[in-house]
């Protein structure tokens, strides 16, 4: 029997759970835990410069690896600073465990120094939370936290740890719990066979089918099975922003992603489909546009592990509650030896879709000429080429995010890392940092803008401390591009506070941290600057590129319209 203090139990549990790296920031209420971490060397702690960055870095790691990220912060401001990152993870169903220091039990409720009811503050943005009541329950509670975070529909779990629970003088028996059971929590392990059979019958009878798949495919590691299923049927597939990479985007059956700024052909195909097979997607308002006009001729099969996602915004004709991977597997076996009922319909459907593709081909944006400012789109395409489409790509939020999603093509899951649900500016850089520290041999690119980057740029210091070689591509248009776009479209170009006055000299700023920064002002300078940026994979390089501020993101769905109602450029609409 081993006797450990609460703090040592935490350090020991993290080791036993196989956690290699945690992100955090110390403070009074967490000091016993930090001391315990200091006295071991298996779990590496990355000291960030702001707790929000700790959550985004752990989140980036979780998205890239599929394993839960771990965060350690102190009470009060330490915990409240983490809130935006917890909400970001919650909205995108990312597994994360956030350990929060708390004032000692006898002080709780007395408005003690650095006291916040963090369980209360985070209640609507966590999958679950725990408050430690006795040091001896630490191993079991932590095991439950990781179990909840990573299973079913994943999400962040907060553990509130009052300082006296980690006191070095009080020792209790420590046993690593290999398994835990929570009587009210039994995530489904397979879908209803009858419903799956019904769905397969509908797929075989469909004339104009479309797969519409989301982040659930990435989360459940169902990419390979999904690809096999889509190949087997020969159907077109579109993914959500979160599902990018879950089916190879360079494949002919991929229509790209759908929704507000999705591809013309995917939105058209959805609108005209007679069967939509939705897997691991949640019919978000940025996808459906006006739900009362959504896909008028389509029957809907909806597979999701979370029953509350089904028929939340759009009624499903065949609801299937289950994990994507196992349901797809069952679909594949049910398809064995069976044929499409209307064999002639699918080629006709593809002819229609190829017609839509041809309509927009080469018309997406006008490339810049030598001597001119670059277009943001062509920068993304150039980065795609120089990284051969194999980088981990993180983004912040706004126009650059949409352009990155449109022009960088992903053939693998877990490579496209973006805050889709919450839309958190400042996410991209710390997320890239978290990924690079865990995948040092890979190329990690952060597309950002001068607005977003300034929200989390203090992490340059963290990258310096830990030698983290991320590549930051700053698409600098001097304005908050997406806000400006909406103001152009809806507010007669009254640009209320969408410009960023007094930008820093980014080159000097980056150099102050001891890193290399390059400036690109014109078309002609891009290639050489990219060569330099990607020359050494271990080096952080900041590439500040002046891009055309007049550029809008298109296509753009018309508000309150159907899927097919889109602006295609500043002068064209469907």
């Amino acid at each position: 029997m081993e006797l450990l203090s609460g703090a040592d139990m935490i350090a020991r549990f993290l080791q036993d759970e196989g956690i290699e790296r945690i992100y955090g920031y110390p403070g009074g209420a967490a000091l016993h835990i930090y001391d315990a971490l200091f006295r071991q060397d298996k779990v590496k702690h990355i000291l960030v410069r702001h707790e929000q960055a700790a959550t985004h870095a752990a989140d980036g790691y979780a998205r890239a690896s599929g394993k839960p990220g771990t965060v350690l912060v102190t009470s009060g401001p330490g915990a409240t600073n983490a809130v935006t990152g917890i909400a970001t993870a919650y909205m995108d169903s990312i597994p994360m465990v956030v350990l929060c220091g708390q004032v000692a039990s006898h002080l709780i409720g007395e408005d003690a120094f650095q006291e916040t009811d963090i369980v209360g503050v985070t209640r609507p943005i966590v999958k679950h939370s725990f408050a430690i009541k006795h040091p001896s329950e630490i191993p079991e509670v932590l095991k439950k936290a990781y179990y909840l975070a990573a299973t079913g529909r994943p999400g962040p779990v907060v553990v509130d740890i009052p300082k006296d629970m980690t006191a070095p003088t009080e020792r209790y028996e420590y046993v690593y719990p290999k398994k835990v059971k929570i009587r009210s929590y039994n995530p489904v392990t397979r879908g209803h066979s009858g419903q799956i059979k019904k769905a397969v019958d509908m797929m075989l009878k469909a004339r104009r089918p479309v797969f519409y798949t989301g982040g659930g495919i990435v989360t459940s590691g169902a990419s390979e099975n999904l690809t096999a299923l889509v190949k087997r049927l020969g159907f077109p597939i579109t993914t959500t922003l979160m599902g990018i990479g879950s089916y190879p985007q360079t494949d002919a059956q991929s229509l790209g992603w759908l929704g507000m700024h999705g591809s013309y052909e995917s939105n058209m195909a959805m609108h005209h489909a007679d069967l939509i097979v939705a897997i691991g997607a949640r019919f978000d308002d940025r996808v459906t546009n006006n739900t009362s006009k959504f896909c008028p001729t389509a029957k809907i099969v909806h597979v999701d592990i979370d029953p509350s996602s089904i028929s939340k915004t759009v009624r499903a004709d065949v609801p299937i509650v289950g994990p994507a991977d196992s349901v797809i597997n069952e679909m594949i076996s049910l398809l064995q030896g069976r044929e499409m009922a209307n064999a002639e319909a699918l080629p006709e459907w593809w002819t229609t879709i190829d017609g839509w593709r041809a309509e927009r081909e080469g018309k997406l944006y006008e490339a810049s000429q030598p001597g001119e400012r670059l277009k943001p789109q062509e920068v993304i395409e150039a980065v795609y080429h120089i990284t051969r489409g194999e980088a981990f790509v993180t983004t912040d939020v706004g126009q650059h995010q949409m352009f990155a999603a449109q022009y960088y093509k992903f053939d693998k899951p877990n490579r496209w890392i973006t805050s889709g649900g919450l839309g958190t500016m400042g996410f991209g850089f710390p997320a890239a940092m978290g990924i690079k520290q865990n995948f040092p041999d890979d190329v990690v690119v952060c597309f950002t803008g001068e607005g977003s980057f300034q929200m989390m740029m203090q992490e340059l210091s963290t990258c310096k401390q830990f030698g983290t070689g991320v590549k930051i591509i700053n698409l600098n248009n001097g304005t908050l591009g997406m806000v400006r776009q909406w103001q152009d479209l809806n507010y007669k170009s009254r640009h209320a506070h969408s410009y960023v006055e007094s930008l820093p000299d980014f080159q000097k700023l980056i150099e102050a941290y001891g890193f290399t920064a390059l400036k690109v002002e014109h078309h002609d300078e891009l290639d050489a600057a990219l060569e330099r940026t990607f020359a050494d994979n271990d080096e952080l390089v900041f590439l500040d590129i002046d891009v055309d501020p007049r550029e809008h993101v298109y296509p753009m769905q018309v508000p309150l319209g159907a899927m097919r109602d889109m602006l295609l450029s500043k002068t064209e609409r469907t």
């Binding site: 209640r123 609507p124 408050a131 009210s184 029953p307 509350s308 028929s311 009624r315």
Partner: protein, 163 residues
């Protein structure tokens, strides 16, 4: 339509706030709420009445089931059930109206549980409709204070909500 949802909830601190928070967070409506421990000390039973069409009620029950602290739940209005609420009312009881109050209490099979020279305290149980009717009947005489427990309910017959 009005629904009565009964929930077996982990008897843990914070569990109730998760349930109540869910309703406000998702813009669902709570009309009455009633919660107390059960014969199993690890469980509380919580009964909530809410209004909504089938789609809303489906979302409410799905989201409630998602809460880790919710062990089991049943929408009692889906089947035959017994619904009860208890109300304590203080009514002005002076002069001629003193008799009138007594008569009305008898008609409703209520009980007077406390008496002063000017006030009767009445205890009445029944479904929400009966309690509403009693309040209405007493209103002209003069209601001084009302305390209602909120609805509690249980299914009829052999159907049981337990672990």
């Amino acid at each position: 339509m009005r629904h009565i949802i009964s929930i077996l909830l982990e008897n843990e601190p914070g569990a109730l706030s998760r349930v109540v928070g869910l309703f406000s967070q998702r813009n669902f409506n709570i009309e009455t709420l009633n919660v107390a421990p059960t014969e199993d000390p690890s469980l509380s039973r919580l009964t909530v009445t809410t209004e909504g069409d089938d789609r809303v009620i489906e979302q409410i029950t799905k989201h409630l089931n998602k809460l880790i602290d919710v062990v089991k739940l049943v929408d009692l209005t889906e089947g035959n059930h017994i619904e009860r609420e208890l109300m304590l009312v203080k009514v002005k009881a002076l002069g001629a109206s003193r008799d009138e109050v007594k008569r009305t209490v008898d008609i409703f099979r209520a009980q007077i549980v406390d008496v002063t020279p000017s006030v009767y305290t009445v205890q009445i149980t029944g479904d929400a409709g009966k309690l509403d009717a009693f309040v209405q009947a007493m209103a002209p005489i003069g209601i001084l204070e009302v305390a209602r427990t909120g609805v509690s309910g249980i299914s009829r017959g052999d159907k049981i909500l337990s672990l």
